[in-house]
Point group: C2
Chain length 240, copies 2
């Protein structure tokens, strides 16, 4: 299933005791509909406050609800900040995380003097002027296969941080700046740390070429701060 959610009022995707999470909302509805105890498996977790337009998850069920009716049946029972966009029956060996080939994330910055009120939960407001050309140049260095340790939270427990970025672009839309990246995977906080570093570069606190030095240094302390979750959106997960 493909799901969109507004992360504003969630403590992230993954089920946690006490906190409101996307996973628990979805499993609750699936259990009602299928009358089975369902556990879902997503392409990856998203942090508290992070949004999704195209998160993907799978689950096993014996229920006979036709897949083309599933989305509507679920949406009538889900809260207004979660919406199923698509349901598809997959081969038994499909796994939302293991089978994922590419993910696309977008980070949205509102660089207007005052933030656009109607996107206030989905964009990071940066009131200082950002030089977009410098940010574009800096962004170009991350394309390719690199060790992204400098752009990974020190809380990461992964064995290594080598990832391949197929595409990274900066899209300008009036006062808004969208930073969009497609890769075979992303390390913990990677998009947010890259964005935090790009903001420093756009603001003139670092040079565009510093991006390359930071990447080569493999040291989290060289990069900029972790940008707030508010502007981050998981756009798409693609499979074979």
């Amino acid at each position: 299933m493909k799901v969109s959610y507004d992360g504003t009022k969630f403590s992230g995707f993954q089920a946690q005791p006490k906190d409101r999470t996307v996973q628990v909302e979805i499993e609750r509805v699936l259990t009602i509909l299928t009358k089975e105890e369902i556990t879902i498996h997503a392409s990856g977790r998203t942090d508290a406050g992070v949004h999704a337009r195209g998160q993907v998850f799978h689950f096993l069920t014996n229920c006979t609800i036709p897949t083309d009716r599933f989305a509507i049946a679920m949406n009538t029972r889900l809260p207004e900040d979660v919406m199923i966009l698509e349901a598809k029956e997959m081969p038994l060996d499909f796994h939302a995380r293991h089978s994922a080939k590419r993910k696309t994330y977008r980070y949205c910055i509102d660089n207007g003097k005052f933030p656009d009120l109607f996107g206030r939960h989905y964009r990071l407001h940066v009131p200082v002027p950002l030089n977009r050309e410098r940010m574009k140049q800096a962004l170009s260095y991350i394309v390719g296969t690199h060790d992204f340790t400098s752009f990974t939270s020190t809380r990461s427990v992964k064995p290594h941080h080598v990832r391949t970025i197929y595409d990274a672009k900066l899209i300008e839309a009036g006062p808004f700046i969208h930073i969009e990246m497609t890769g075979n995977g992303f390390t913990y906080n990677m998009v947010r740390i890259i964005t935090g570093t790009l903001i420093k570069i756009g603001h003139g606190k670092l040079k565009p070429e510093d991006m390359r030095l930071i990447l080569d240094g493999c040291d989290r302390s060289l990069a900029g701060p972790t940008a707030l979750p508010i502007g981050l959106m998981l756009m798409d997960v693609s499979y074979e």
Copy 2:
């Protein structure tokens, strides 16, 4: 002052006992800042649930806060769904309502199979396919000076409903349809009734040419329903 607000959690612009209104929020902050009892006068009221990107209001004050500091000082004290965009000192004979020459409203429809989650408070979701060419044709009939009684709430207390529409256009943006109108004024619920009628035309329940007959009939019962406030936005008020 020019103000933007998200109407979702307001019972409209105008002060009312008990209900949360934009006017009361603004006057509360102005009274704190100026230490005077301030009453504001807007270009017009907006109904419960209606949004604004460029509402204009005026007030009289003796306070000495520089106009270029006023917006920031107010925004730090206003709730997150109201934002002052501009402050300007005006001649004493300026009146936000009487001096207004043109207003622009936009009504936003989400015509996707599923609504875009991130604009769910700002667009009306219409899941049935709408024919945009038919809607464009229908919309063209309202340009000019007409008696808009058919597109006016029967609760209107105005002496007449003759208004001039300078421009009316339908803007397509993927699954979204924006209906934008500029006129010298709008009668009670006028944009919402025009939109409700256009939706019936786009859906094939009425013919584009019916728009002209409805207009000429000067009878509210001829037109379509009043579209929900959720999709309506006051975009701009212009003065000499």
